[in-house]
């Protein structure tokens, strides 16, 4: 499978804290790649560097051949990010929220309605598309956040703890959406500390702890002789 995101010896400090200490991994098209680790391991910082919000102190990141330092706008055009914090504009409708990000992501005027309608239909949002975001439920808001991240049809999708604030039903919809995106050939990077989810969904995983990679490879290989990924994870973290 073709490489979509290549992270090479990434280092990053935030203030006095050295958050990343030489992280390397590769995520491919048509797979769900798990970025696993406890809270504070450096997962969010890694994702923020991949999507150009933060600059690395050392190392490099390439997204579909574009370097995040030299071609940040090209990278942003090719990435969609969904985070746990569902930040949407409360006084805009669900549709207006999605259309705003579509326009800013470079969707052309002639294609705008078609793309927005397409994503509304795909995520089954028709019933609340015209409703103001402030009146939506958490699950509906999360759908708006996903829709806004994918409306420009990016080949790379990143999910940063996407289910941490959601109920069981909404969480399942997110998982289903990730699987569907994978089947469409997208590169899906799934950052989570919920190892049960990762084990079910991810084709390959990288486990990071205190800014370092402590395990990496196909999910089954990383689990290895252990009963589940959680045991393998604890073993790797303790050994590091």
């Amino acid at each position: 499978m073709e490489s979509a995101v290549r992270v090479d010896r990434l280092e990053k400090s935030l203030g006095p804290n050295k958050v990343l200490r030489g992280i390397s991994f590769e995520a491919r098209r048509g797979e769900i790649f798990g970025l696993l680790g406890p809270n504070g391991a450096g997962k969010t910082t890694t994702l923020r560097i991949i999507c150009t919000l933060l600059a690395p102190d050392a190392g490099s990141v390439e997204v579909l051949g574009f370097d995040t330092r030299t071609a940040p706008a090209e990278v942003r055009r090719r990435v969609g990010v969904v985070t746990a914090e569902i930040g949407i504009y409360p006084r805009l409708s669900a549709r207006e929220n999605i259309a705003y990000f579509a326009e800013l992501s470079g969707v052309l005027d002639g294609e705008l309605d078609r793309k927005v309608d397409g994503v509304l239909e795909r995520l089954d949002m028709g019933s609340f598309a015209k409703q103001r975001a402030e009146s939506l439920s958490s699950g509906q808001k999360q759908k708006v956040a996903i829709a806004r991240a994918i409306v420009h049809d990016p080949p790379v999708l990143m999910f940063d703890e996407p289910t941490s604030n959601l109920d069981v039903l909404a969480s399942r919809e997110i998982r289903e959406f990730m699987v569907e995106s994978k089947s469409r050939g997208k590169c899906v990077i799934f950052s989570t500390h919920v190892l049960h989810d990762a084990e079910r969904l991810c084709d390959r995983v990288t486990i990071i702890h205190e800014g370092r990679v402590v395990g990496s490879g196909p999910t089954a290989d990383v689990r290895g002789k252990f009963e589940d990924l959680e045991d393998a994870f604890l073993s790797l973290v303790e050994a590091s």
Partner: protein
């Protein structure tokens, strides 16, 4: 530049749906006429109000007529000194030598009564002297060897209007430009962090400078609208409300030059304030913190207008027109009071306000591109 238009359109739509901004603008439209009506009633009332003079002793003949004609009510009291403390506004004791006046200068009514008494007594003295001289066959004009005939270039009513407008109009213009756009500015800057929308916004390929320009333009338009609504409502109110004493009421009007200068300054101030408040909002983590950062701006805006109120003839050098806000107040005062504005003063003022806005835009852009903006949030 497409992103500027996209952000501008979205911000304006959100602002128009924000009750806080709409309430601020609506209150400005309503509050100004109410405040002006109250001021007009107070001025009319203090000009026509009757004050009480407590007196003791033999009052000279005819003086009582002058007192009554000046809305001073005479009341005989046993002790004018004690009465002047509360019972009456001024106490008078007529003696063979003259008259002793007792009043409390801390009471405004006593001050006004004192001025009226001085006027009445000086008129009485002049009439008495003139009558005595005429009885003795002397022309009373010998007492006034150099008579002065005054030719005021503006009427006293016009002077009063100008004094009022030169303080109130800049004050309204500056305060409403700031207040009208403040809520929108904080919402579009600190609010982005508070709602957690900032990260998603910065993830788009739109250049951050264009995003910021779109935001500043939207806030400028709202600030300008707030100022215009307040000023139009003020001018409409001024055209309807009469000021001054009954019998010589006056309406206050704005000259075309002053109106043009006001609109131009409002545009510049709206841009500068939008940049300043968005910069402060970008520094803040949430709306409330943004409000705390912006509060000192109110003092900055009230001070220059107060300067014109307390020093109406303040005639500064061109260098003073470099000071933002103060320069707008001075230019507006010149336009209102003198109906003329020095081109150099207007040019320096415009440049100063433009540079202030540009510097704040640069500061906001630097903040907008700092990693700390995301990490702190």
């Amino acid at each position: 530049m497409k992103a500027v238009a996209i952000v501008f359109r979205k911000e304006l739509r959100e602002i128009l749906r924000d009750r806080r901004t709409m309430i601020a603008i609506g209150l400005a439209a309503l509050a100004t006429p109410i405040v002006l009506y109250v001021i007009s009633q107070v001025t009319v009332r203090s000009a026509t109000q009757t004050y009480t003079v407590g007196y003791k002793g033999e009052m000279p003949a005819g003086l009582d007529i002058l007192f009554n004609a000046t809305s001073l009510k005479l009341e005989q009291v046993a002790d004018p000194v004690e009465a002047a403390k509360a019972q009456v506004d001024v106490g008078l004791v007529f003696t063979p030598r003259g008259v002793d006046e007792y009043y409390d200068p801390t009471r405004q009514s006593a001050q006004i009564t004192d001025i009226r008494i001085q006027t009445v007594v000086s008129r009485y003295d002049a009439a008495k002297i003139a009558a005595t001289l005429q009885e003795r066959g002397v022309d009373p004009s010998v007492l006034n060897p150099l008579p002065v005939t005054q030719h005021p270039l503006t009427s006293p009513e016009q002077a009063a209007q100008n004094a009022f407008l030169s303080f109130f109009l800049p004050y309204m213009l500056i305060t409403m430009t700031l207040t009208g756009g403040l809520s929108a500015a904080l919402d579009t800057s600190a609010g982005e962090r508070e709602r957690k929308t900032l990260e998603s916004l910065l993830l788009t390929p739109a250049p951050r400078s264009q995003v910021l320009v779109g935001k500043i333009l939207a806030v400028s338009v709202v600030g300008l609208a707030g100022a215009m609504v307040a000023i139009v409502s003020m001018l409409v109110a001024l055209s309807q409300i009469k000021f001054g004493a009954q019998g010589q009421p006056t309406h206050i009007v704005l000259t075309p030059l002053a109106a043009s200068v006001m609109v131009w300054l409002a545009v510049l101030l709206a841009g500068a304030f939008a940049s300043i408040t968005i910069t402060l909002g970008t520094l803040a983590r949430n709306f409330r913190q943004g409000q705390a950062y912006a509060t000192p701006l109110y003092f900055v805006t009230i001070f220059p207008a107060s300067l014109v109120l307390f020093i109406p003839d303040f005639n500064p050098s061109l260098g003073y027109y470099l000071i933002p806000i103060l320069n707008a107040v001075l230019v507006l005062r010149d336009a209102i009071v003198h109906n003329s504005v020095a081109p150099a003063a207007l040019a320096v003022t415009s440049l100063s306000l433009f540079v202030t806005g540009a510097l704040c835009f640069y500061a906001a852009l630097r903040l907008f591109t700092r990693e700390a903006l995301l990490v702190r949030s």
